[in-house]
């Protein structure tokens, strides 16, 4: 404890000085705009004809700060002289003002999105609500010609993204399912839940560790708290930790991410408290190893061979390290329960561990282990969601076979 505090107090001022020093040393400079020089050459061949019908409008479904420019191709693009190489889009705040190049579109393109930054002070700032004028330059072989200047246009933000309606409908539908079944569960309606082998094995696995007097190893995966699989793993950890506290076994959690370490510490502490054994909680068993994938594996493999845990849990986000961990664990003779939503890694867990929670089962696990009716209600909601998807699947296949375009359009999402 003393070492920890010493580190903490001594560290902060050192850290601040370090930051200031490093900042001064670093070459801070805002992004530089790179100008482009066009080489004009005297030539006997005529320049490509200018594009026509240049229009500028606000880009729909955004938060402002973007204008879309469209034009009709130059007659020399692909046909005529055929010497158009690209189009340059230029912008000015006055029709007769100075035009600056905003971007480039290859020949054959008929539109360009002039995307600006939304922060004042940024070199690329494009204010909303200010009128701009555009022209389009057809370029080829060092020669160019400009279109007429467009009518003014300004960018403005929209309050609803029209392309996302299917997502809104889905969000509302699934939230409703979940809420309805949570309410029903609160009222005491009994819900049937089919048994899952991986979940049933949890108690047995913890019991085995107690009998053998060996610790349990819990791996949260390679994800950080920015992944739902990791958060799902935290919720499972809280159930597992409570059982571990009940059985009075030790749980080891080497973490690959300091935030995961902090959350895991909070979770396990709370679980021990809930089990009525806060004195048994050992924070030093939940520690940071390293954030780099294979170094983390090397470290965990070492722990497995030296501590010989009775049971290993691998729940969360896993990548190529899945099999390295699972095979070493089986070498060390541990019972292993795994689960991930990373599809490419599920096969390795299926092959090398004793029980595997496949995809959605990982997300259902904490509800299964908690056995609280409210959480089970959300599972029932999930099933209703699946039923809707399956109906859509069948109807969709029929619609596609008989070419009912209307149905297909229901799923159109604009990104």
């Amino acid at each position: 404890m003393r070492i920890k505090r010493l580190f903490g107090i001594g560290f902060l001022p050192v850290f601040l000085v370090l930051c200031i020093f490093l900042f001064l040393q670093s070459d801070f400079c805002p992004a530089q705009e790179v100008g482009e020089v066009d080489i004009l050459e005297e030539s006997s061949t005529p320049p490509p004809a200018a594009p026509t019908d240049v229009k500028a409008v606000d880009t729909p479904n955004d938060n402002g700060h973007s204008i879309t420019v469209t034009w009709t191709l130059s007659v020399d693009d692909g046909a005529g002289l055929g010497n158009v190489v690209s189009y340059e889009v230029l912008r000015s705040d006055a029709p007769d003002g100075e035009f600056e190049v905003r971007g480039l579109a290859p020949a054959g393109e008929e539109s360009f999105e002039d995307k600006g930054a939304k922060e004042k002070g940024d070199a690329n700032y494009l204010p909303a609500g200010v009128d701009f004028y555009y022209k389009v330059r057809a370029k080829g072989d060092g020669l160019f010609s400009d279109s007429e200047v467009s009518a003014p246009a300004h960018a403005y933000g929209q309050w609803y993204h029209t392309g996302k309606t299917p997502v809104v409908v889905a969000v509302l539908a699934f939230s409703t399912f979940a809420l309805v079944f949570i309410t029903l569960a609160r009222k005491g309606k009994k819900l049937y839940i089919r048994p899952l082998a991986g979940i049933e094995a949890v108690d047995e696995a913890i019991g085995r560790a107690t009998e053998m007097g060996k610790p349990i190893l819990y791996i949260l995966g390679l994800g950080s708290a920015d992944m739902i699989a990791t958060i799902a793993s935290f919720t499972i950890l809280s159930r597992v930790a409570k059982k571990v506290a009940d059985y009075q076994t030790q749980i080891l959690i080497p973490c690959n991410d300091p935030i995961n370490m902090a959350v895991a510490q909070e979770t396990v502490r709370a679980a021990y408290l809930e089990a009525g054994r806060p004195d048994q909680y050992k924070e030093e068993n939940i520690y940071y190893l390293t954030s780099m994938q294979f170094a983390y594996v090397a470290g965990v493999n070492g722990i497995m061979l030296r501590e010989k845990p009775a049971t290993n849990f691998y729940l969360g986000k896993f990548y190529a390290e899945s099999l390295l961990l699972a095979e070493t664990g089986s070498l060390a003779g541990s019972i292993q329960i795994s689960g991930t939503d990373e599809i490419a890694q599920i096969p390795f867990f299926v092959a090398a561990t004793d029980y595997t929670l496949i995809g959605e089962e990982l997300y259902a696990a904490s509800a299964y282990l908690g056995k609280e009716p409210i959480l089970l209600g959300t599972l029932k909601g999930q099933d209703w969601g699946k039923a809707v998807v399956m109906i859509a699947l069948i109807l969709g296949a029929l619609a596609a076979t008989f070419n009912f375009q209307f149905f297909l359009n229901l799923f159109r999402i604009q990104l």
Binding site: G157, P258, T267, L324, E327, A351, L375
Partner: protein
């Protein structure tokens, strides 16, 4: 304060993020929150590093049997951080030619690539242990793996050279990847989407709150 503030904060931030998907002006918050996330992570790394150094310093201090290796961890850490922070040209620290780059190429990279390469051995031992035609399900897994393994190297095509073109092992492998594999993958993906939605909802509604700790 200890329990309520975090729960309310989770709910507000979560709902804001959901809504920002449909309301373009909220995008600015999405970007901002993602930046904050990185900032928090950048601070958290100090927690992690201190924890690592403390655990290993403890090994030395208490003269545990693996104390020398604790020292190696600490020295390894200093070996790369000191040049990386002070002697590798500031922000261009990872450019070829800097000491940081040298350590990356000659220490970090070989270790990492070798650890990754151990997979080849474990793929073999896992196949031997697990690929048994115990029942129909296991047999299907086995057969699919077999076809893909042989179909991706020239052996597969030699073995089936007597078949007409278009029906050789390589083509079977492609067919399995294109159709049944796609179907299985889609089913898992859709299931995951529903699982994520339901888990996220439980977190935002505060039904799962264990990770917030006790009093």
């Amino acid at each position: 304060m200890r329990r309520e503030v975090p729960l309310v904060l989770t709910a507000i931030v979560g709902l804001t993020m959901i809504v920002s998907h449909f309301i373009p002006p909220f995008n600015i918050l999405k970007d901002l929150f993602e930046d904050w996330f990185f900032i928090i992570a950048a601070f958290a790394i100090y927690l992690g590093v201190l924890n690592l150094l403390r655990v290993n310093a403890d090994k030395l201090y208490k003269k545990k049997p693996d104390a020398p290796f604790g020292l190696v961890v600490i020295l390894g850490f200093l070996l790369i951080t000191i040049p990386g922070l002070f002697f590798s040209g500031g922000r261009s620290f990872s450019d070829p030619g800097t000491p940081f780059y040298y350590l990356y190429i000659h220490v970090y990279y070989p270790l990492s690539a070798t650890m990754f390469a151990l997979l080849a051995f474990f793929v073999a031992s896992a196949s031997y242990r697990a690929f048994r035609a115990r029942n129909v399900e296991a047999t299907m897994l086995l057969v699919a793996a077999f076809i893909l393994m042989l179909g991706r190297v020239p052996i597969g095509d030699w073995m089936t050279a007597w078949l007409p073109e278009g029906y050789r092992l390589g083509e079977w492998a492609d067919w399995i990847m294109d159709f049944p594999q796609t179907a299985g993958q889609k089913a898992i993906m859709i299931g995951i989407a529903l699982g994520v939605v339901s888990s996220a909802l439980r977190v935002i509604l505060g039904l799962e709150r264990a990770y917030m700790g006790g009093e």
